[in-house]
Amino acid sequence: MKSYQVGRPSERLLAGVKKTLFTFAAMLLTSLTFSVMAQDVTISGTVKGNDGTGLPGVTVQTKGTTKGSQTDVNGAYKLAGVPKGATLVFSFVGMETKEVAIGNKTTVDVVMIDDTKALEEVVVVGYGTQKRKEISGTVTSLGSRDFNAGVVTNPLAAAQGKVAGLVITSSSGDPNSRPTVRLRGTGSLSAGSEPLYVIDGVIGAPIENVAPEDIQTMDVLRDASSAAIYGSRGSNGVILITTKRGKSGTPTVDYSAYVGQETISQRPDLLNGADFRAAATKYKQAFTDGGANTDWLDVITRKATSQNHNVGISGGSENFSYRASVGYLDQTGTLLGSGKDRVNARLNLDSKAMNGKLAMKFNMSASQANADIAQNRAIGFAMNMRPTDPVFNSDGTYFQIPGTFANFNPLAVLENYSQKEKLQDLLFNAQAGYTIIEGLVFNVSGTLRTQNRNSSTFVKSTPGNLLSTVGGNAGNRFLNATNDQQLETTLSYTKAVSSNSTLSLLGGYTYQDVINDGFGAGNNNFLSNDLGANNLGSGLGIRTNPNLLGSYKNEYKLVSFLARAQYSMANKYFATVNVRRDGSTKFGDNNKWGFFPSVSVGWALNEEAFLKGNSAIDNLKLRVSWGRTGNSEGISPLRSKSFYGPSGTYYDGGTDDFLPAYAIQGNPNPNLKWEVNENYGAGLDFSMFKGKLSGSIDWYTRKTKDLLYVVNAPQEKGFVFPTILANIGSMQNKGVELSASYQWVDNAKFSFSSTFAGSFNKNKVLSLKNNDFAAPDQVFLQTSLGSFIRGTSAVAFSVLQAGQPVGVFYGAKVAKIENGRYVFQDLNGDGKVNQANPDREDQTYIGNPTPVFVGGLTNNIKYGNIDFQFQLISNLGAKIVNTNNLLLGRQDGRIAESNALKSALTTVVNDERTLPMDYYVESGNYVRLNNASLGYTIPVGKSVVKRARVYVAGNNLLLFTKYSGVDPEISQALSIGSQAPGIDVRETFYKTRGITAGVSLSF
C-alpha cells in the first residue's frame, strides 16, 4: 500500500486500473499457475537498443521459469532469485530475443537489435494471418499511421485515397452520414455494393462507430481469391480491422485529443436581395417585396466545433496483456440542429496458458452514439426562399410565404422538427486457440453482439400549422434490437515440409444467427409540445388513426464450412486455395447452399537465379488469381415463401368500421439466391533500390452474375405484386490498380516520401434478364430532386441497360438555345423531334457518372521533430448532372415565387422544363487537397512523458475543379427508385472544411 501513498495520482489510478484488470484476468484464466523458484543471486543491468538509449518494458526472465521482471523507463532492471549459472532471456516485441548465460556475473548489460523476422509484415487474411511475402491474393494493409488527419471520425474517412481500388466517396458534410464505399467498382444493383467489414474476426460489426484511434491495421481483401473465405458475403471485398492490443512491458498510457472547427467549404451562389430585385425587374416578375436581404443558407448554418478525446492504456507481462481505451467524440454539424456525440470503450485482453499452448483473446467493445439528425430538406427550402423575405414577421413569428406548397421557412423546420437516434452497440468476443501439437492449432471463437437503435422524432405544433403536421404536433418512437451471435471453430495445421517450404491447412465451421426485433409507435395532437415524444399515449391522434403502431421480428441464420490450403515452396512459389460452403435460411428452397472456391498463385521472381543478386530489385512477385464469391446482403428474410400479413383495411358492414385485411406479403421466389461474383486477376508486387521504390500493379476482371434485382412480375400471369426479387442478369467491372511509394530522401534528420494509390475502373451492365424474368430493356432510374419542386417526381436522368455502365445518363441533346428555349437535336435522323418532350428515339447516352480514375497521393515529410503530411485526391472521368442549374439556373428560375442561382441573371435559358438533357451534364473532374497536417514532436528527455506531439491539421483545404455546382464529389449511391449515382441534388448537406489542433501524448 506504500506505493499508493507515494505514487502520483495518475500512477495510483493506473495501478488501480491494472489491479482491476488483473483481477478480471485471474477470474478468466483459472489455468494460470506460477511456480516459485528457490532464489540464489540478484542480477541487475541495463538493456539498450542499438541506438544506445535505454529500452523500457523489456521482459527479463530466467530461462525455463516464469520468474521475471521488466526494465524501467531507463532500461534498467533488477531480477532477484536467479539460480547460479542460469540463462537470462530478454524479450521485447519487435526485437530479437536474446539469451545470456550469467555465469558468475551479477551485472548483465545487453544491447537488443530489431528483429527483422518479426518485422516481416503479417497480413490478416480472414480466419488467420499470412506473411506478406507469401500472399498470392490481392491484399492491401494500412497501418494506423497511414490514416488521414483532421476531423476524421470513422475508419472509412481515415482510409480515403489510401488503397488502390477502394473508392470512398464522402459527398456530405453531415456528421451522421456514411461515405459510400466501393471496392473495384459497383458490383450490384440492389444487393448492396459495400464491402464486408470484419472487426477483430467479428463479421458485420458497425464500422462507423469504431474510433480510428483504436485501430492497429486495416487489411483490405481486394480480390475474390482472398475474399472467397467469406463466401456468400465476400463479393464486394472485405475490410478486416484489427484493433490495438496490449504488449508485454510497462503500462503505457496514450492520450490523444483534438479540437476542430468546420465551416461549409462551398455553397451554391444564390441571388441576394438586390440581385433578386434586379432579376425580378429584368424578367418582369411581380412579387411581394418583404424588404429584407436574407441569406437563408446563412440563417440555417453555422460554424461547427468538434472535440475528440481518446485514452488508451496498455501493458502486460509475458503471458498476459491488455489494452483498454475510452474515446469521446462531440461533433456539431454545420446545419443547425445536426450533431453527434459518441462514447466508445474497448477492452482487449490476451492471455497465454498451459506453457503457451493455450492462447486466449477477449475483445469487448461498447459504444453509444447519439445522433441529432437535422432535416436536409431545410437546405432545399433555404434555396427556395426569396432573399427579400425576412426570417421573422414583426410579431416574432416565423415568416412564411402565403399560399405556397410545402415551402416551409427553413429555420422553422430546423427549430421545430427534432430527430434523435441513439445507437448502442455491445460486443463480447472470446477466442481460444489451443496448440494440440506443434503446428496444429484448434481455434474457437464466440461472439455476442447486441445493438439497440432507439430513435425519437417530434414535430412541434406551429402557429397556423406551418409544418402541415397531422394533429399539429406529432411524435414517433422507434426501437430496434439486433442480436447477433457468431460461433467459429477452425483447425489449422502448419508444417515445414522442408527447410524452406511450408504447408498450411485450415478447416472450419461457422455459425451466425441474427435476430432483428423492433417496434415503433407514433401519435399526434398532444396538448403540449413539452412532452416531446416521451409520453406517446397522451396524444389524441391514435383515437382516430389505428395505423400508428407497428412491430416486427425476423431472424436469419448462416451456416458455413470453410477450408484453406496454403503452400509456400522454396520461398519462391506460393499457392492458396480457399473453399467455403454457405447455407442461409434466407435463400430459396431450391438454392439453400452455395459453394465459393478460389485459387491464387504467386511467384517471387527475385528469388530466381536470373534476378538473384540484382542490386536494383529487392522484391518482385507475380500473382495470378481466380475466385468466386457471393453477395447475399440484399436478401431480406421471408422473400422465398408466401406469408400472410396485414395489408391495409377493408370495410366491414357488420361493425361499420374498417378492419385490418390480410394478404400475401410479396411474390415469393423459391429460387432466390446470392449474387455470384467471379474475379480473375493478376498483379505484380515490386520493391526496388533497397526499398526506395515499392508498390504493386493489379489487373482484374470482376463479373457479377445472378444479379439480385426487383423486376416486374407479370401480374397477368398470377403474381399479386407488380414486382419480384429475382436473380437476373450480369455486370462487369474491369480495371487496373496501381500503388507506388517512393522515398525521396531518408536520413536521420530529413525524410520525404510519397505514396500513390490509384485505380482505373470500367463498369458495364451485361444483361438484365434470366429465363423467367426480365427487366425492361431500359430501366429508368429516378432521382428525388428534393422537396418543393413539383413536376419533377417522374424525372429519370439515368438508365440501366445492357452494354452500358450502371446509371449512365440518358437524355436529349441540346442543339442550341432559341428565344430561351431548348432546341433538341434530331438524333435518329428522321427529320422529326418532339421539341416539347423528345421521344426515346431522340435521346441518347449523355454521360457516365462513375469516375474512370480515382486516386490519392500522400506525402510525408519529416524534418527533425517536425512532420508534415498532405494528401491530394482526384476523381477523373465522371460526369455529373447539375440539377441545381437545371432547376434554379434559368432566367426566371422560379422568380418571383422563389430564389434562383446567380447565374439566372446572365443565362440565356428561359425554359422551365425538367427534362434529362446533356446541357446540364458537366465534367466531375477534380483534384482536392483532402487533408494536411503539420506536427511537432516535443523532445521529452527523461520525463514520465515518453512521447508528445502537437499538430494542426486541415480537411478539404483546396479544391481544383471546373464543375460549376457546389462540389463535384457527388454521391455514388444507387438506390432504385430514389437515388442514382452522379446526380447533384439540392438537398445535399454541404461538405465542410475543417481545421483542427491536436495533441497526442504517451506516458
Binding site: P637, T649, G653, A661, E716, P776, R790
Partner: protein, 489 residues
C-alpha cells in the same frame, strides 16, 4: 505424432457432430404467417377476403386519372415547373401517351394485381359458392376496367392460365359469362359497399351498353333489359335531393348510390381529389392540414356546357378564393387568387400570368373542412341511380323509344333545376351524361361509345382512333412476351 493427429481429428469430428443441429436452414418466422397456416378461422378468411374489396381503393388514382385526364372534362396542365412530371399529364390530354407511360403501367398493375389477388382467394373459399361468385363478380369489375382501357388482355382465372393476350371480343364473352353465372348467388338485398345483384347488374349493363365498342356489335336490348332490372329493383334506389348530396363527406346514407368504395380519412386512404385540384392557398379556405397540389381542373368548353341555372354547377370552384376568415387569397406573385375557366396553353411557364389560376376546380366530392389529413372520408361512388336512368335512356334511345328516353333524362335534369327537354339527340345524351356524371371516372368510356373521344378539341390534336385503347405497357411486354401490343403502338 500419429497419436496427435488422431486426437486432432477426433476433436474436429466431435466438434462438427455437436454442431450438426446448427445446419438446419428452415427459415424462422415471427411477424408473418406462413401461407399454409392461415385461413383456419372464419375471421381469418374474412380478413383474407378483405383485400378483394380493399384493393378497389386504388380506383381513385389508377382508373380515375387515365379515364378523366384523357377526356374533355379534366386536364392537368403544366404549371411552370409544376405538374410536368416527365410529360405524363400532357400525354393524357394530348393523346400522345406511349407504351412507356408510367401511370398507364400503374393502371395495368392495379387491375391485374387485384385480379391475381382474387384468383388466389377463390380456392380458399371454394366450398362456399356465394363467396366464390362474389369474388368472381368483383374480378369481373377489374376485367371490365381491363376490357375498357386495354381491350385485348389475358384472361387469367387460376394458376393454370397462361397469360397470353385474348381478343377484346373474347374478353367480352368471358365477362358476360362470368357475370351471368355469378349474379344469382349474390346478395339480392342491400349490402353497403358489397357486390350485390344490383351492383353486378349495373356492371353487366355497362358491358352491354359498350358492346359495340368491345365486340363490334351492339347489344342495346340486353343493355336495356339489364339496366331495367336495376332501375326497378325492389331495393328502391331513387334520386337524392341533389346530385352533390351523393358525394358529401358522410355519403354512406345516400339512397341513390348503388355501389360505393368506402374510404376513411385515416383508416382507408386514397380519397384525395381535393389535394389534386385545390390551389395551395385553398388550405386556408378549408382549414386543411396539408397544402393542396394545385393540379386538376376542367376545360372551358366543358364548364360552359352547364346552363346558368344548373344546380350541378355547384360542383365547380371558380373566381376569387377566400380564406376561412373571409380574407381574399393571393397567389405566390401576390396576384388575386381567382380561378379562370379559359386558358390558352396546357403547358404554362412561370411567366404566364395564369399559370397557377388556370382552370376551374372541382368540389364534386365535398371538401372535408378542417381535415388534418390529406385523405377524406367520402366514399367513392362507382354506380348510382342517376347513371342507371341515363343508361336506360341511352338504351331506349338506341332502340328507337325516344319518348321513354326523354322521361328518364328529364328526371335527372329536373332535379338539377334545368328545363325538361322535349327532343333528344345522341349529342344531348352525351352532354347530359357529362354534366350529371362529371368527374366520376366515366367520361372516357362515354366519349368513346359516342365516338367523340378522338375528335379535335382544345389541347387535343391527335385524331388517331387507335388511342381509344391504351397501349399494353412496354414493361409488361418485356416481362411477359405472350402479351401482344395493341394496334397503332
Amino acid at each position: 505424432m500419429k497419436k496427435f493427429i488422431f486426437t486432432a481429428l477426433t476433436v474436429g469430428a466431435l466438434t462438427s457432430l455437436s454442431l450438426q443441429s446448427c445446419t438446419d436452414l428452415t427459415e424462422p418466422v415471427y411477424d408473418a404467417i406462413p401461407a399454409d397456416q392461415f385461413l383456419k378461422t372464419d375471421a381469418q378468411v374474412a380478413a383474407a377476403l378483405g383485400p378483394a374489396y380493399g384493393g378497389l381503393r386504388g380506383i381513385t388514382w389508377d382508373w380515375f386519372n387515365p379515364s378523366e385526364a384523357s377526356s374533355d372534362e379534366l386536364i392537368v396542365p403544366t404549371r411552370g415547373g409544376d405538374w410536368f412530371d416527365n410529360g405524363d399529364w400532357l400525354a393524357y390530354s394530348r393523346h400522345t401517351w406511349t407504351p412507356q407511360h408510367g401511370p398507364i403501367n400503374g393502371m395495368w398493375g392495379f387491375i391485374f394485381g387485384n385480379i391475381s389477388q382474387i384468383n388466389q382467394l377463390i380456392p380458399v373459399v371454394s366450398t362456399n359458392k356465394a363467396a366464390v361468385d362474389e369474388l368472381r363478380a368483383i374480378r369481373a369489375f377489374y376485367y371490365f376496367m381491363a376490357i375498357d382501357a386495354f381491350g385485348n388482355v389475358p384472361i387469367v382465372t387460376d394458376a393454370a392460365s397462361n397469360g397470353g393476350t385474348k381478343t377484346r371480343a373474347e374478353v367480352y364473352a368471358f365477362l358476360e359469362k362470368e357475370l351471368t353465372e355469378a349474379i344469382p348467388s349474390l346478395t339480392a338485398g342491400k349490402a353497403y359497399s358489397r357486390m350485390t345483384q344490383d351492383a353486378a347488374n349495373m356492371l353487366l349493363a355497362k358491358l352491354y351498353l359498350n358492346a359495340g365498342v368491345y365486340k363490334g356489335s351492339p347489344e342495346w336490348q340486353k343493355a336495356f333489359d339489364t339496366i331495367n332490372k336495376v332501375v326497378n329493383t325492389k331495393n328502391g334506389f331513387a334520386l337524392g335531393s341533389s346530385t352533390l348530396s351523393n358525394f358529401i363527406v358522410q355519403n354512406q346514407g345516400s339512397g341513390e348510390n348503388i355501389w360505393t368504395i368506402p374510404f376513411d380519412s385515416f383508416k382507408a386512404g386514397g380519397m384525395n381529389f381535393q389535394m389534386r385540384t385545390l390551389h395551395y392557398a385553398n388550405q386556408q379556405t378549408y382549414g386543411l392540414g396539408n397544402s393542396p397540389w394545385n393540379g386538376f381542373c376542367t376545360l372551358a368548353d366543358f364548364y360552359n356546357s352547364f346552363e346558368k341555372t344548373d344546380l350541378r354547377k355547384a360542383m365547380w370552384i371558380e373566381g376569387q378564393q377566400f380564406a376561412a376568415s373571409g380574407a381574399k387569397l393571393v397567389d405566390a406573385k401576390n396576384q388575386p387568387l381567382a380561378f379562370i375557366a379559359d386558358f390558352q396553353k396546357d403547358q404554362m411557364t412561370d411567366a404566364d400570368p395564369e399559370f397557377q389560376v388556370a382552370g376551374i376546380r372541382s368540389q364534386k366530392y365535398e371538401i372535408q373542412r378542417n381535415n388534418p389529413n390529406g385523405d377524406q372520408s367520402n366514399d367513392y361512388v362507382v354506380f348510382r341511380y342517376a347513371d342507371a336512368l341515363l343508361m336506360r335512356a341511352e338504351a331506349s334511345f338506341r332502340l328507337g323509344k325516344t319518348a321513354d328516353a326523354l322521361v328518364d333524362v328529364n328526371k335527372v335534369r329536373v332535379r338539377s333545376g334545368v328545363a325538361a327537354m322535349t327532343a333528344l339527340t345522341e349529342k344531348d345524351i352525351l352532354a347530359e351524361r357529362g354534366r350529371e356524371m362529371a368527374w366520376e371516372g366515366w367520361r372516357r368510356n362515354d366519349m368513346i361509345r359516342f365516338g367523340t373521344f378522338s375528335l379535335e378539341r382544345k389541347f387535343m390534336k391527335n385524331l388517331n382512333k387507335t388511342r381509344e385503347l391504351f397501349p399494353i405497357p412496354q414493361a409488361r411486354i418485356d416481362a411477359n412476351p405472350l402479351l401482344k401490343q395493341n394496334p397503332g403502338y
